[in-house]
Amino acid sequence: MSVRGVLAVAGVECSKLTAQLKTRIVLAACVAGPFAFAAAMRVQSTAPTDTLFGRSVTESGFAVPLVVLGFAALWVFPVLASIVGGDLCSAEDRYGTWTTMLTRSRSRREVFAGKVLTALGFSSLTVAVLAVSSVVAGVLVIGSGALIDLSGSLRSPAHALVGVALAWATVLPPAFGFTALALMLSAGTRNSAAGIGLPVVAALAMQLYAFVDGPDVLRQMLLTSAFGAWHGILTEPPYYGPLIHATTISAVYFVVGLTIAYRMLRHRDIGR
C-alpha cells in the first residue's frame, strides 16, 4: 500500500463528492442552519431552556455554538458523520463499478484507505463548517458578550471562544466513530439507505437509553454519550474524566468498525 495510491483514490472520491448535489446541500445547511437559529432566538422571547446554555442565548453570542452543539448531538452529528461514509462502498454496488475500480492499478487496501480518508475528511469538514458558522452567527446576530459558564463564572469573550473551540473539537472522535460504523454498514449491507440510516437509528436508540436511568456502565459504552464530553471544558475548574473516557470509547468503535468493514471488503468475491 503506498501513500500515493491512497491519495489518488481519495482524490477521485473527493472529485465525485464535489460533483454531488447532496454534498453541496449538506454543506449549505451547515452554513445556513446556525444563522437561522440565531435569528430566531433574537426575534422570539422564549429561550430554549431545555438545552444547556439555552438561557444565555440572547445575552452572549458564544452561547449559540454551545446550544447548537447540544442540539446537534441528538441526530445531526450522526447524520453528518454517516451521510458520506454510509454511501462510499455501497455506491460502487449500486452503480456496479467495483469491477472497473479494482481492475485499476490500486489495491483493495488502497481503495479502502482512500475511501476511509474521504469519509473522515468530509465528517471533519461538516463539523468544522457547522462550528465556525455557529460562532460567526452568534457573534454577528447576538453579539460578543461575556458568557456565563457551567460553574456560574463569567468568561471573557476570548476565554469563552477558546472553550467553545475546544468543546467543538471533542465532537470529532465520536463523529469518526459514527463514520466508521457507517462505512462498516455500507460495506456489509451494500445498501446506502442502510449505511446512512442505520447509524442514525442506532444513535437515536442510544439517546433514548440515556434518558432511562439504566446501568451506568452500559450508558458509558454508548457512542452518543461521548457527544456530551465537552461539559467539563466549560466548568471552572475544568474536569477531563468524561473526555478521556469518550475518546477511548470512540476509538474502540472506530477500530472495530473499520476492521470489520475492511475484512468484509477484502474477502468479498467481486466480479461475478
Binding site: T49, L52, F53, R55, E59, I148, L150, S151, G152, S153, L154, A210, F211, D213, G214, P215, D216, V217, L218, R219, Q220, S225, G228, H231, G232, L234, T235, E236, Y239, G241, P242, H245
Partner: protein
Amino acid sequence: MGFRGLLAIVTTVAAFGCGPSPITSPRIASAIAPTFANLVQVQISRLGMPSMAASDFAVAASCRRLATGSNSGAGDWACTLVWRGPHHQALTDTYDLTVSTDGCYTATIEGEELGGPTIKASDGRDVRNLLYAFEGCFETM
C-alpha cells in the same frame, strides 16, 4: 462467542451497573454551592451593586433526592442553600433540581424570594435573574 460468553458479559455489566450511582448528595452539593456563589457575584455586578468575592457569600448546600428508595442517581433533587447576602444577612433558599445521567443539572428556585425570571437593575433595565433558574455540570466518573 457462545451462550456462556454472553452470560458472562451480561453478568459483568449487571454487577457493575448495580453499583452505587456516581450522582450523590455530596457531589451535587459541592457542585451547586460554588456555582450559586459565582452567579450571585455576577448578578450583583450586573445590578450595579459594589462587587464582592464569591467566597464572601459563604454558600453551604445540602441536597436530598426526592424519589424514595435510593438516595443516589439521576432524577429530581432538592437543595437547600444557606448563604450570606450582599448586606451580610443570613439567607436560606431551596432549589428544585433535575439532574440528568451525564451529571448536568437545572436548578429552579422554590418561591419568589430572590425575584422572578427577570429583575430591575439600578438603572431601570430589566435583566435576567440569574438566580431564578440556572444550570451546571459536575464530574460523574
